[in-house]
Amino acid sequence: MTEIFQPEVDRRTLLRRAAAVGLLATPAVGMLSACVGGGSDDDKASDKPKGTVSATNPLGIKEDEPLEIIIFNGGLGTKYATDVDIPSYNKLFPNSKVTFNQTEEIATVVQPRFTAGSPPDMINNSGSKLMDQGALVQAGQVQDLTDLYAAPSVDIAGKTVKDTLIPGTVEQGTFNGKPYVLNYAFTVFGLWYSGKLFKDNGWTVPTTWADFTALLGKMKAKGITPYGYAGANAPYYQYTVILASAAKIGGADILKNIDNLEDGAWKNDAVKQAAAAWAEVGAKFSNKAFLGLKHTEVQLQQNQYKVGLYPSGSWLENEQAKDTPEGFDYQLMPLPSVTTADKLPVTALYAAAGEQYFVASKGKNPRGGMEFLRHMLSKAGAVGFTQLTKTLTVVAGATDGMEISPGLTSGNKALSAAGADTFSFRFDTWYKKLDDELRAATNELMYQGGTADKFCDRMQKAADAIKKDSSIEKFKR
């Protein structure tokens, strides 16, 4: 041992080691970039139809050209692609060989391929390691889907693909005027509870804030944590609730102004009122220890009847499928009205198309990628997806009248009760930095003794900083 540490030797070795160890993080960046300046794009003009356009081939794909797709393997699984969509595509184009890949880390697998100039044709950009969609659009890597939306539906006669979708779907994937991304899964957001727990205790769904806090009080008296979300990795769920309340108080334009980075958007009274109302819930009816928990831990506690209400999207039921006890009966309640003078009715809901699918414009077969999306948007594709994932799609009314699961039915009911009063925001995908700041601010508000004023000031400051930053591309809706 001693001879290794002879003074003269160790000083040099050390410096070398220092350079090697200290830089562990640096090469990570360099590695990914190893192909910069490599494959230049030689504009293959692959955007134009290569095959003959016909009634069964409206996008004019070349019938024997292979297609490569990659699906994020998360809460929704990949079975819908392998068992429903690929067979549907191959039924029309038996000679086009489909290469199917799945990954839990989209960016890790796909990002280097964009840099190298050989991306897969159709990509499901999702999960915690998703790629920045705005940056992809900015780099000209995403195919304009206008032709897809104008093409006829695969199995809904007499309608174009666009006609079959829930209104707002195309807009949800539009970046500065062009439809680049298909948001396929339709998510309803609200407070989830166990139908059984409510029935056993004779509790009813509150519509006013006073009834709501009274219910939370009853739960607390029973020894149940009335309300909670996971601060460690899911403050996103809670901020969706806060902003949804703000939209109900002051109208959906509140969210539009936030998305568009309008001056003072965060300091609006509606945002302040919503933040104050929820801060009170956090202080009185939750458990500060949840700040250190992950979403799966809190969700499990709800399955064990230890948590009363949990804010989440309609993917929750499927995500918890294996931990949910018999008879739990997932139910959704829309957010109760905070004031008696809310602009939107109590039935109004946060509902949005999510789960991004896009076609690479510089891939080998962009037309084929669009054709694949056309099959996902067929009625059969939508029904298969909903059956396998218990998640609605953007294909309007595809599963109407089908009994699939209690949570799905409850979400569907809430959605039809809401009618036109649905709203959503988009800043979280446009400006990830703002999303991160809001997560931290929400944790502070709910669990660390923050106030509504501090919350609004902090978010306004973050939004203003992004507005000023010229390196970030801005979007409008």
Binding site: G22, A28, V29, T115, G292, Q448
Partner: protein, 303 residues
């Protein structure tokens, strides 16, 4: 055989050097190159923007927060680890007094030596997951479960702004101590027993033995330990990424440069900016290593 020596050595080195050159040196160089661009990672073309990334970095609060955390780690990680490791190593080697002219460790020291080394064998990610359970804020956590049994209020180790970084520091120390116990033990083993004997004859207590004999003769080893631990303090990425609330939280209370590099690259697709941070980290580490070696330079005691 002498004439064949260089081709022989080169024959052995060419492959590793080529691999090192491609995957390490070239990657460093490219990180330097990218730090002067606004590359976002999705196109083959890059635009040069001069020192803009570095100016932005200078005004970035999160960056300074990360630097503060590194400074804290830089002070306390080596200090705590070395003190603990020295204490244990002393007990294991000298602490048992001397018998028949040989110094010995406390009873069972051979077993302890192995046990202390165990944490070193666990992958860092595993350590992080285990300690996330130890620190868990509800009664399913090891510590809070015990507190709950005795009716105490839970301690929010990772969810409390003021505790979070210290909780992570404790894990870093826990993981590192074993290795340095072994390192210092080896160093102590090489100190001739006659010196201890002579000192003991002169009536030196255990404390005097430690401060007047062991410590000076271990100086080189200590210096090495300090530099290694200092460099580890510039990392800490794995633990923070896995353990901390809201990745680097709560509210940025545990973030480190490695995590910010990763976040800017992965989440914000700001590869140029992330590279600039990497470059800063490079110079910080190099400066630290050079400084430490300068400041702690002392004439080695020849044995």
């Amino acid at each position: 055989m002498k004439h064949g020596r260089y081709p022989f050595i080169i024959g052995f080195l060419i492959v590793p050097v080529a691999i090192y050159g491609t995957f390490v040196v070239a990657a460093y160089l490219q990180a330097f190159q990218l730090s002067f661009t606004n590359w976002r990672g999705f196109s083959p073309d890059v635009n040069y923007i001069g020192f803009d990334n570095f100016t932005k970095l200078f005004h970035d609060n999160v960056f300074w927060k990360a630097i503060q955390h590194h400074i804290l780690l830089l002070i306390f990680l080596p200090l705590l680890t070395i003190i603990l490791a020295l204490f244990f190593a002393f007990l294991l080697n000298v602490g048992g007094g001397s018998k028949g002219g040989r110094t010995r460790g406390v009873w069972g020291s051979k077993v302890y030596r192995v046990v202390f080394f165990f944490p070193q064998l666990l992958a860092l990610a595993l350590v992080a997951v285990i300690f996330a359970r130890v620190y868990s804020p509800d009664e399913s956590g090891l510590i809070n479960g015990l507190l709950h049994q005795f009716g105490g209020d839970p301690i929010l180790f990772l969810a409390d702004k003021n505790l979070a970084l210290w909780s992570i520091l404790a894990v870093l120390v826990w993981q590192a101590v074993g290795f340095y116990v072994v390192l210092f033990s080896a160093g102590m083993g090489s100190i001739p027993t006659e010196i201890y004997e002579a000192a003991a004859l002169d009536g030196a207590t255990r404390g005097t033995l430690f401060f007047k004999v062991t410590l000076p003769l271990l100086w080189n080893t200590l210096q090495v330990a300090w530099v290694y631990l200092g460099i580890a303090a510039f990392d800490a990425f794995a633990l923070v990424n896995v353990m901390s609330v809201d990745r680097g939280g709560p509210d940025g209370a545990t973030t480190v440069l490695g995590l910010e590099i990763f976040r800017n690259m992965q989440d914000y697709a700001q590869f140029g900016y992330a590279s600039a941070m990497g470059v800063v980290l490079f110079f910080l580490t190099i400066t630290f290593a050079a400084l430490t070696l300068r400041v702690t330079r002392r004439d080695a005691v020849e044995l």
